[in-house]
Symmetry: C2
Subunit: 202 residues, 2 copies
Amino acid sequence: MLKLYDSTLSGNAYKVRLFLALLDIEYRKIPVDLRAGENREAEFLARNPRGQIPVLEDGETVVWDSQAILLYLARRYGGEAWLPLDPAPMARVAQWLAVSENELLFGLARARAVKKFGRAFDLKACQEYGIGGLKVLDEQLENQDWLAAGRPTIADVACYPYVALAPEGEIPLGGWTNVLGWIRRVQSLPGYVGMEGIADQG
Amino acid sequence: MLKLYDSTLSGNAYKVRLFLALLDIEYRKIPVDLRAGENREAEFLARNPRGQIPVLEDGETVVWDSQAILLYLARRYGGEAWLPLDPAPMARVAQWLAVSENELLFGLARARAVKKFGRAFDLKACQEYGIGGLKVLDEQLENQDWLAAGRPTIADVACYPYVALAPEGEIPLGGWTNVLGWIRRVQSLPGYVGMEGIADQG
């Protein structure tokens, strides 16, 4: 059975939990105590030299980094449903993975980390950077239901968590109508699971 | 012919210039004057809503974001040479793309942006974050020539620019022996092109 090294409050780990649920794949969660520094112990660093969760183990294959895990799972278990392989559609997915790693992670998620975990980032700068990401998402979702294709892909799975968690970083979602509609669509997907801090937009 | 919306001093644009050179693909550079704000004009925003270079045009296909462009070019023109499609090797490439988007971009590249362009990031925090990335790269390159496979992949192309430019952010590379060997190997690839600020390690 797949093993996921996990932490309940991590939006990056939640990306993987959400995708495993959408793929209807059973797995075992192995909680890693970040406050106790378990992620900095030699045993964990042997799995992931960056000392971060999530890490996925699938038999002999060990994958670290949430986006790499999404790509792995999409390729291994999802056919082309969640990750098209033709150059142009694949690039469209990759564009939104990039937004997820940039404005959403270093904007929205860092703002949340300041408010929720007391991290020492510049709150205002993170909020502004994150809001720039929301703006681009909202424009993209003006005329389409999903970010990168006519169906949900790993781009939606990657972007959803820190967008839905943005209010925890004091970034309200109320004005972003298209984003809110997209959040509702994600929450309606068969198999969807939420996490603490994500409001039900149903 | 391919068109690349470009800026000479951008390490992200250089990722694409380097990969196009390695693939031996002709293209036309279209310089975008960032200081004059050309990237914020409506005509440019229609190509890339984030207002950033690089942007690639290949006939009707428009791709923004450097990593998305690398994926696009690898899929469209490189077969599986630069991007393996099997789940585990593809995930290994994606892991190093993630390091490139995280520690290298928000560490090394931001430190360089402070020193070279006067940007208002926390220099010390960026340097520390970037050095964490160099450490992980150096360990990975201890026993292998390339980051993600037995040959160069887009992982190497994505990571190389801001590593090689790190000294411009006052992050010396002298102590990172394995990284320096890898830089030499990248610089020896057929078709390699450099950019201003990258020292020849030959």
